[in-house]
C-alpha cells in the first residue's frame, strides 16, 4: 500500500486514473480550472515513455489526440468552458471517424470567459450537443476523488469499447478540492485495451465494418493495413460516399452503438434510496451537498435519498424512471439552469413533481440551499 494513499486535488486524481488506464499521449492548452491535469501529465507521461505536447490552442490539442489515437495510442486532452467550445468540431470528427479518445472538461461558469475560478455545471448540454449533426456521445462525471479516478479509467475503457470520444465532465469544485485517494492495485480495476484486427497483411481489412457484437476492430496507422479515414460519410473501407443507403446506415450505427447500450454504459450510485419519499437526483460536486443533506435528514427520520448519476450521456432514462417511481417528489440538484432537470422530467411519470434545486452564482450549492426548497415542497415552510 506504500505510496498508494494520496491526498491530492481532483485534477490529480484524474491524472492518476488516466495513468492507471494506460494513457500514452496527451495534448492540451492551459485553461483554469483544468490546467493541473496537463501540468501533472507533462511530468508523468515521459517518465514512462509516453508523449505530452502543449499545442497552440484547444482545436490543435483535440486534433493531435485524434492523430495519436489512430496510431494506437490511448489519448486524452483536458480543458474547460471556452476550450471545450473550440474542441467541438474535432469532437464531431472523432465521432464520425470512430476514434477512441477522452476529453476532460473541468467545468467553470459560462457562457464566454464567464467565471474561470468558480464552479458550474453548465456544460451538460454542450457535452451532448456541442458538435453539429446527429450523433451520440458518452459523458461521465464524479463527485469525489475515488470516483474521479474510477470514472477516468471508465472513460478510457468506454472510448475503446465503443470507438468513440468520451467526455469526462468534472467541475471546478471537485477538480481543485483536496481529499484522499487510494490508488487501486494493478488488476483491481478492469482495463479495456484497443481491440485490434486479427487479419493478416494481405487480407482486405474493413476499418468500418462492425463485428456481430457491434465492435469494430482497429488497425494502427503505420501498421499492415492501409485505409482511409475521413469526416465525410464513408463506406466500410473508409471511402467517401454519398450513397443514401451508406449515409443512412452509418448515421444509425453511430447513434445506435451508444443508445442501444445505455444500460451497459450507465454508472450511478444510490445513497439512502431504498424507501425514500423524497429523491435528490444529482451529480458531480452538487451531489456532495445532496448526499450530506440526505444523510443528516435520515438521522432525524426523514425518508430522503440520493440518486447520484455518474453517466449523464446517454441519459439513463429507464434508471431514473424506475428509481423515482415511488417518490413523492424529485429534486434535481445541479449548478445550472436545469439541464439535467429537463432529462429527469422527461423520464419520470409525474414531471410536475420534479423540482430544481440549483445555484448559478459560482458558489457551490449547499445542503441548506437544498433544504430550503425541500421544506417548501414538503409543505413545512422555510
Amino acid at each position: 500500500m506504500k505510496n498508494k494513499i494520496k491526498f491530492i486535488q481532483g485534477n490529480e486524481a484524474c491524472v492518476e486514473g488516466a495513468l492507471y488506464a494506460g494513457i500514452d499521449f496527451f495534448a492540451g492548452y492551459p485553461i483554469t480550472p483544468s490546467t493541473e491535469i496537463m501540468e501533472h501529465l507533462a511530468r508523468r507521461l515521459p517518465e514512462r515513455g509516453g508523449k505530452f505536447i502543449q499545442m497552440e490552442d484547444e482545436i490543435a490539442s483535440m486534433c493531435a489526440i485524434i492523430g495519436a489515437s489512430l496510431t494506437g495510442r490511448k489519448s486524452m486532452t483536458a480543458t474547460s468552458g471556452p476550450g471545450f467550445s473550440l474542441k467541438q468540431e474535432a469532437i464531431g470528427y472523432a465521432c464520425m471517424t470512430e476514434i477512441p479518445c477522452v476529453i476532460a472538461n473541468v467545468q467553470r461558469g459560462g457562457p464566454s470567459t464567464g467565471n474561470p475560478t468558480h464552479v458550474s455545471q453548465g456544460d451538460v448540454n454542450q457535452a451532448r450537443w456541442g458538435t453539429h449533426g446527429d450523433h451520440s456521445i458518452i459523458a461521465l462525471t464524479a463527485s469525489n476523488h475515488q470516483d474521479v479516478f474510477a470514472m477516468t479509467v471508465d472513460a478510457f475503457n468506454l472510448a475503446e469499447t465503443y470507438r468513440t470520444p468520451v467526455i469526462l465532465l468534472l467541475d471546478e469544485a471537485v477538480g481543485h478540492m483536496r481529499e484522499k485517494l487510494i490508488v487501486p492495485e494493478e488488476g483491481e480495476l478492469e482495463i479495456v485495451d484497443r481491440l485490434r484486427t486479427a487479419l493478416g497483411r494481405d487480407v482486405d481489412y474493413h476499418p468500418y465494418l462492425p463485428r456481430e457484437d457491434g465492435r469494430l476492430p482497429m488497425s494502427d496507422f503505420g501498421g499492415e493495413h492501409r485505409f482511409n479515414v475521413t469526416g465525410l460519410f464513408h463506406d466500410m473501407w473508409g471511402f467517401p460516399s454519398n450513397n443514401p443507403k451508406v449515409i443512412n446506415e452509418l448515421l444509425r450505427h453511430l447513434v445506435d452503438k451508444i443508445e442501444n447500450n445505455v444500460q451497459a454504459i450507465t454508472r450511478y450510485k444510490e445513497h439512502c434510496l431504498d424507501d425514500a419519499e423524497y429523491i435528490l437526483v444529482s451529480y458531480g460536486s452538487s451531489a456532495r451537498s445532496a448526499i450530506h443533506l440526505a444523510k443528516s435528514r435520515r438521522n432525524r427520520g426523514e425518508k430522503i435519498g440520493v440518486l447520484e448519476l455518474q453517466s449523464l450521456w446517454p441519459f439513463p432514462t429507464e434508471l431514473v424512471r424506475e428509481k423515482c417511481s415511488n417518490a413523492k417528489a424529485v429534486l434535481v440538484v445541479e449548478m445550472n439552469m436545469g439541464q439535467v432537470l429537463a432529462q429527469v422530467k422527461a423520464a419520470v411519470e409525474k414531471p410536475d413533481r420534479v423540482f430544481l434545486a440549483n445555484r448559478i452564482d459560482g458558489k457551490l450549492i449547499t445542503p441548506s440551499d437544498i433544504k430550503k426548497l425541500l421544506r417548501v415542497i414538503q409543505g413545512r415552510g422555510v
Binding site: 499545442m55 497552440e56 493531435a64 485524434i66 495519436a68 503505420g222
Partner: protein, 268 residues
C-alpha cells in the same frame, strides 16, 4: 513501382476539373516517393478540406482526411506518437494559411519532422472561387466583386520567419523540379514547407484573364525564375523558385526523446 501502384483505383475517377494543377502536383509527389523507395506502410498522408486535400484519399498510404485547416495538428499527433513514420501534409492555400495559419506557424516553430505542401492556386477552389490569403490585391473573386483589397502572405517568407528548416517553391509547370524538391523535403529532418503554385482554371483563370489551364501553366513559367538565375537578376519582380532554406536544427520528436530519457532516469 509504377505510379499506378501508389493509387487507389477503387477511388477513381478523381474529382478534379480538367486542367487543375492539383493532379500534376500529385504526380510530382508520387514520383518523389517512388524514387525514395518509401514503403507504403511507412507513410501517412494527412490533409484538411479542399480540392487539394482530396489527394489523401487517392493514394495507397495510411490516409487521414481531416477538417478544414486542421491537417497539421492531426499530423503532429501521428508524428509525435510514431516518429519513424513519414508524414506528408498536402494543403490548399486557404487550408494552410487562412483557417490553418496558426497551426502552420506553430508546426514550423516546433520544427517537427513533417513535409507540408502548400498547393497554392490563389483561390478557394472547392467552395467556388472566393479569394484566399494568397490571392493578393486586385483579384476578382466571388467574394470580391469589386476586386480584392487584401494583401497576401508570402508563403516562403512566412515559413522561414516561423522557423521551418526547409523551405522551397516550385510550380505545377515545373513538375520534374517539384519532384526533386519534394524528395529533398521528405528526406529533410525537420519541418519542410514546399509551396507549389497550382492553377484553378475553373474559378481563378476564367475570372482573372489568365485563361485556360494551358495559359495558366504558361503563366507559372513566365512569372517565375530559379533562385540565382540570370532571369531573376534581370527581373527581380519574378517569383523566385528553388530551395530557400535547408538547415539542420533540432527536430521536435528527437528532442522529446531526450525528455523521455531524462524523465525516466529521474523516475528510477
Amino acid at each position: 513501382m509504377a505510379i499506378q501502384d501508389y493509387l487507389r483505383q477503387r477511388y477513381f475517377p478523381h474529382m478534379w476539373c480538367p486542367g487543375c494543377g492539383h493532379g500534376t502536383i500529385l504526380n510530382s509527389l508520387l514520383r518523389a516517393i517512388e524514387e525514395l523507395e518509401i514503403e507504403k506502410n511507412d507513410l501517412v498522408i494527412t490533409s484538411g478540406i479542399g480540392c487539394s486535400a482530396r489527394i489523401s484519399g487517392y493514394v495507397d498510404f495510411h490516409s487521414l482526411h481531416t477538417m478544414h485547416g486542421r491537417a497539421l495538428p492531426c499530423a503532429t499527433g501521428v508524428k509525435l506518437s510514431r516518429p519513424h513514420l513519414n508524414v506528408i501534409v498536402p494543403m490548399g492555400d486557404g487550408d494552410a494559411l487562412a483557417i490553418g495559419g496558426n497551426h502552420f506557424i506553430h508546426a514550423a516553430r516546433r520544427n517537427i519532422d513533417i513535409t507540408a505542401i502548400v498547393m497554392n492556386n490563389r483561390i478557394y477552389g472547392m467552395t467556388g472561387g472566393q479569394f484566399s490569403p494568397l490571392s493578393g490585391p486586385g483579384v476578382n473573386a466571388t467574394t470580391a466583386p469589386y476586386k480584392t483589397i487584401d494583401n497576401s502572405f508570402d508563403t516562403v517568407k512566412l515559413a522561414i520567419a516561423a522557423g521551418a528548416s526547409f523551405v522551397a517553391r516550385s510550380t505545377a509547370y515545373h513538375a520534374q523540379e517539384s519532384t526533386d524538391i519534394l524528395k529533398k523535403a521528405i528526406q529533410h529532418k525537420g519541418f519542410s514547407v514546399v509551396e507549389i503554385l497550382s492553377q484553378c482554371p475553373t474559378h481563378y483563370g476564367r475570372k482573372n484573364k489568365e485563361g485556360d489551364a494551358a495559359s495558366m501553366l504558361e503563366f507559372h513559367k513566365k512569372n517565375t525564375a530559379r533562385i540565382g538565375s540570370k532571369a531573376l537578376e534581370k527581373n527581380p519582380d519574378l517569383t523566385p523558385r528553388g530551395i530557400f532554406v535547408d538547415v539542420d536544427t533540432p527536430e521536435y520528436c528527437a528532442e522529446y526523446e531526450k525528455i523521455i530519457a531524462v524523465a525516466s532516469k529521474e523516475k528510477m
